[in-house]
């Protein structure tokens, strides 16, 4: 590692590189380093969209060097949750940052006019985005890939769509081909900085301490990635292979978490998409698994005239725009996903908000006056499309509000009981039971990826386990994921990266870590995040379930108030968060 941090101040247009070897030695990289940078440069009480609010990107020691170490982490103040904003994306960004010799990037300030940032090795420039401000996330990629092409070199392009420009707190930032910093509103934060895009590339190659050992670890991992069962499911059908099994165990959220069985599951299954819509797999740079599934949507726009678009899909997208809205026609879903991709919204938050709106309309708390004539119904794809178009045009108060997420909308328009969000963040697609509830409530980014709660629930169906052990496992897993996210390895490869191979890899790179050191890193990184969250106002004692979730069946039955409270208390105890203490 270079331990190089690039600081860019958009207000002045100035940038500088600083080296901080101590920081990277202690915190490795990725999410652990980014958290420390957030402590240094962020204000936990500050406005997420203020010019001085920092956006931090970081990679770790394995990025671009070992198979499937493809992620970049971004930390920021979330305009959606009002506290820790954290999102991860693949694509080519970590490769490009490595090529540029940058381990972390800290962006502050606000450009005077729409701009984009280019990073080419140590050369940084802030350029005008006046001509393409307002363009979709897809068009922006086309424009910049040509404008900023570097012969024979790989360039990574991160950009926001119009949703980010409008400062929607559910706006994402899109990276290269269909990868996203999806959750928690990074798009709005970049929009507030007048920053349309970041283009990164470089020509550097890091020296390797022990090339022979490095190649040996590489080969071990390569063989596991290409041959192991663990990655095969991502490589073949992809995560959407979970649609049918989850529906079968009543764990696929349907019609705003009313039930976990979706009668249209077969119709939107991974198998169905593979048969009728899948045209290609693509990969993040240096991932031989290639889990990105591209569907093709061919539509007749006039007699005998067709438009064809490619749209990526996976489990979470099919849940958010499929079962949540009771849409079982893949073409309806793909149309909504394409529009979402262009606008640059986070699909999970948008789908959750649309589902809340539909339930509100059906219950009568939301009137046809409010929706200005649109009649929302589950299963009505055409109307959902009209809704998205109105949001994009800012047509009407209700539609302008919808892109602020379900928490905000329900506080203004009513229906808080069935606004399904955890800490103001719409959840991933699991209705599996209490483990997942704990993940969503207590996870540092309120994401289904914070720990393996949804999978723990599913395992309970076959093998019961004492509650305390379940909670302990969750905490252990949350900490271990801090290590993965500091390296940064894609979580889909968590099965192939065991502790032994991680230590071999670090050793080959000349970084001295041992088992207890990794464990301590995970524990510390998690604790530091909770410390930050607390400073932002997160109270681990006051987390609240969406009321509706106490009255619906999950895969493992009803969620009990007392039993959940007990789990939460155990979680606080095992993370050291009890009695208002911040863990050290």
């Amino acid at each position: 590692m270079n331990a190089s941090i690039l600081y860019v101040d958009l207000t002045s247009g100035q940038s500088r590189v600083e080296r901080d070897e101590a920081l990277f030695r202690e915190f490795m990289g990725g999410t652990a380093v980014a958290t420390e940078l957030l402590f240094r440069h962020g204000d936990p009480k500050g406005d997420a969209l203020a010019p001085e609010a920092p956006v931090i990107f970081a990679i770790g020691p394995f990025n671009a060097l070992l198979p499937v170490a493809t992620k970049t982490v971004s930390l920021f103040m979330s305009p959606l949750s009002g506290e820790l904003g954290e999102s991860h994306a693949g694509g080519r960004l970590s490769m490009a940052l490595r090529d540029a010799g940058i381990d972390a990037l800290v962006i502050t300030g606000r450009a005077k006019a729409p701009s984009y940032l280019t990073i080419e090795n140590e050369t940084v420039a802030v350029k005008s985005a006046a001509t393409f401000w307002g363009q979709s996330a897809l068009a922006t990629d086309r424009i910049l890939r040509e404008a900023e092409s570097r012969s024979g070199r790989k360039v990574s392009i991160l950009r926001i769509g119009p949703a980010g420009e409008r400062l929607s707190p559910i706006a994402c930032a899109t990276v290269d081909g269909s990868r996203h910093f999806g959750r928690l509103g990074l798009g709005a934060v970049l929009g507030s900085k007048n920053l349309k895009a970041i283009v990164a590339s470089g020509t550097r190659t890091p020296p390797i301490a022990r090339p022979k050992e490095y190649k040996a670890v590489y080969d071990t991992l390569y063989d596991r990635v290409v041959r192991s069962k663990e990655m095969k499911k991502y490589h073949d059908l992809g995560t959407s292979s979970n649609i049918v099994p989850l529906s079968l165990i009543r764990g696929l959220p349907t019609r705003n978490f009313t039930q976990g069985h979706f009668e249209g599951a077969e119709a939107i299954s991974g198998e169905r998409f593979a048969k009728d819509f899948l045209v290609q797999h693509t990969a993040c740079a240096h991932c031989q698994c290639g889990c990105i599934h591209m569907a093709e949507l061919r539509e007749e726009f006039a007699p005998y005239h067709y438009s064809t678009n490619r749209i990526s899909y996976d489990y979470e997208l099919l849940y958010a725009m499929g079962s949540m809205l009771s849409l079982s026609n893949p073409e309806d879903i793909l149309r909504l996903l394409l529009f979402t991709e262009k606008q640059g919204w986070d699909v999970i938050s948008l789908g959750g908000t649309l589902a809340w709106a539909t339930e509100s309309f059906l219950r009568g708390t939301l009137s046809a006056d409010a929706t200005e004539g649109l009649t929302l119904s589950f299963g009505d794809g055409a109307t959902y499309m009209a809704v998205l178009e109105r949001i994009a045009r800012g047509q009407g108060e209700f539609y302008r509000d919808l892109e602020r997420g379900s928490a905000w909308c329900s506080e203004k328009w009513g229906g808080t009981d069935w606004a399904i969000h955890y800490g103001r963040v719409e959840p991933g697609g699991y209705m599996t039971g209490e483990n997942f509830a704990v993940t969503s409530l207590m996870g540092v980014r309120h994401s289904h990826l914070d720990d393996s709660g949804y999978s723990a629930d599913q395992k309970l169906l076959n093998a019961p386990k004492p509650v305390e052990d379940q909670v302990k496992d969750q905490v252990r897993d949350a900490r271990w994921r801090m290590v993965m996210n500091s390296l940064i390895v894609c979580l889909f490869a968590r099965g192939v990266y065991d502790e032994t191979v991680i230590l071999q890899g670090l050793d080959a790179l000349g970084l001295s870590w041992d088992g207890p050191g990794l464990e301590k890193l995970g524990e510390r990184a998690l604790a530091r995040k909770y410390e930050w969250k607390r400073l932002c106002g997160f109270d681990p004692e006051a987390v609240r379930m969406p009321e509706k979730m106490y009255s619906v069946q999950t895969s493992t039955g009803m969620i009990g108030r007392e039993s959940l409270a007990r789990r939460l208390a155990l979680y606080r105890e095992h993370t050291g968060l009890q009695d208002g203490k911040t863990p050290r």
Binding site: A64, L65, P67, M95, R98, D99, L138, D141, R142, R145, E146, G152, R153, K154, G177, S178, T203, R204, T205, P206, P207, I208, P211, Y214, K215, Y218, Y222, V225, V226, V279, Q280, H281, T282, A283, C284, A285, H286, C287, Q288, C289, G290, I292, M294, R310, S312
Partner: protein, 143 residues
């Protein structure tokens, strides 16, 4: 054993992972990025999943060698070129002469990176996009 030719045999199976480029840099040039690879995987903006893989055609009469003003690129037996580093004046004429943009440039050394048709990239392609073949017919290379 006959002369081996690196060929693109299944272009449309490429997932754009760049594993091949990393493999060439790592195994042939001992460099841990992807920039020193003797081949390129190109992608096209806006066309998800359209990859074009450019590998050395191992020409019998290589345009790159003919273009070199100092004779630094020497045609190898069986086609293709090897570089005499001492003769190279870093003018990049060879790279420009390769119409299929297969010949790559070493940005650090300021010299071309001719492919040696060793097959390391083949070994690390997860999808059998590349192959080493004995019959070097270019019709087998729809890159």
């Amino acid at each position: 054993m006959g002369v081996k030719y690196l060929r693109v045999v299944n272009r449309d199976r490429c997932i754009g992972c760049f594993s091949c480029m990393y493999a060439c840099s790592r195994m042939v040039r001992n460099s841990m990025g992807s920039g020193k690879a003797s081949m390129r995987v190109r992608s096209y903006a806006g066309l998800e999943g359209a990859f074009s893989i450019r590998v050395c055609a191992r020409c019998a009469h290589p345009d790159c060698a003919s273009a070199c003003p100092t004779g630094a690129l020497i045609t190898a037996p069986g086609g293709g070129v090897r570089l005499d580093k001492d003769l190279c004046i870093s003018c990049k004429t060879c790279v420009k002469a390769c119409a299929i943009s297969a010949l790559q440039w070493d940005e650090e050394e300021k010299q071309p990176l001719p492919c040696i048709h060793c097959g390391q990239c083949v070994r690390y392609c997860p999808n059998d996009v590349l192959a080493l073949v004995e019959d070097g017919g270019t019709e087998a290379t729809p890159s």
